[in-house]
Symmetry: C2
Subunit: 171 residues, 2 copies
């Protein structure tokens, strides 16, 4: 052990801070969830979430600004604005469900009465997890950081110390 760990000095050069820039703000995920459930209008979000008007206004604007939702005025009633998830927004579904499943697993008194199912066979979806390229389920200990150049290479058992990142520091 004592391999290399992920360069933490470039902590900012990582997808996580990028994602959190928008989605890390309060209410963003709840708005997203409401969007996934078919809400499209300002007052719908307002009623469903119990969020303050000005905050909702601000959050929707930011989500639109970041391309997660798109804002469109309806031609048939030009008071109404439709907020819809974009492809970029829909791509957050796995993250949202993973978070939600975690909350459901460890939270208290969470009914999980409606279950999210595969429409095809009506069975509940699988738990969101980490998979190898061939579909095997992976746990935290099965992972390691590799330099792009070393992807797919055989395990360098010794080599220099401090050569490859590790997640096994997790113990």
């Amino acid at each position: 052990m004592g391999k290399l760990r992920e360069p933490l000095n470039d902590m900012q050069n990582c997808g996580l801070p990028a994602a959190l820039e928008v989605m890390g703000e309060r209410w963003s995920f709840m708005i997203l969830r409401a969007g996934f459930n078919g809400l499209h209008h300002f007052e719908e979000y307002l009623g469903a979430l119990g969020i303050a008007r000005n905050i909702l206004s601000n959050r929707l604007a930011r989500l639109v600004e970041h391309g997660i939702m798109k804002r469109e005025a309806l031609p048939e009633d030009r008071r109404k604005i439709e907020y819809r998830l974009t492809a970029k927004g829909l791509d957050l579904l796995p993250a949202m469900l993973a978070l939600r499943q975690w909350g459901e697993k460890y939270g208290e008194g969470i009914p999980s009465n409606p279950v999210l199912c595969d429409e095809r066979d009506g069975q509940p979806i699988a738990l969101i997890g980490i998979h190898a390229h061939d579909g095997r389920v992976l746990g935290p200990m099965d992972l390691e950081w590799r330099d792009v150049a070393d992807v797919g290479k055989a395990v360098v058992e010794d080599g220099d110390e401090e050569v490859r990142p590790q997640l096994s520091a997790l113990r």
Copy 2:
């Protein structure tokens, strides 16, 4: 269409707000990520994240309080405190990676130089996604909310209106 959507009135009876109670706070995910990468000590987090001392102190306390990390004084040097992810904390890895992969996909100038790989064969892990119980990959349109009583039942093509939740409101 016109099925039932997830009861939004019980918006709080859901795993998402539960998850966001801790993980929705600023820095929580970044601290978690640092923890995944083998950091264990206060000053390590401090240096790696560029977070203020009091905030880090507060956030670590809250993560411990919620059972995501555990705090342990080291016997050999009793100045040192070890912060370690618990099983509950490790369970957040899929959510963290999903978020991160999303940020990497849509963010600008994100190197993705170290790649997270399966230690077994050195291949990059698969994208975090939504899978059916049998492993098929599912998209947002393949999903629907079902009452627990209706799980696994054949699709009720008409039935009463407003009977089953939908995600197909996504268009």
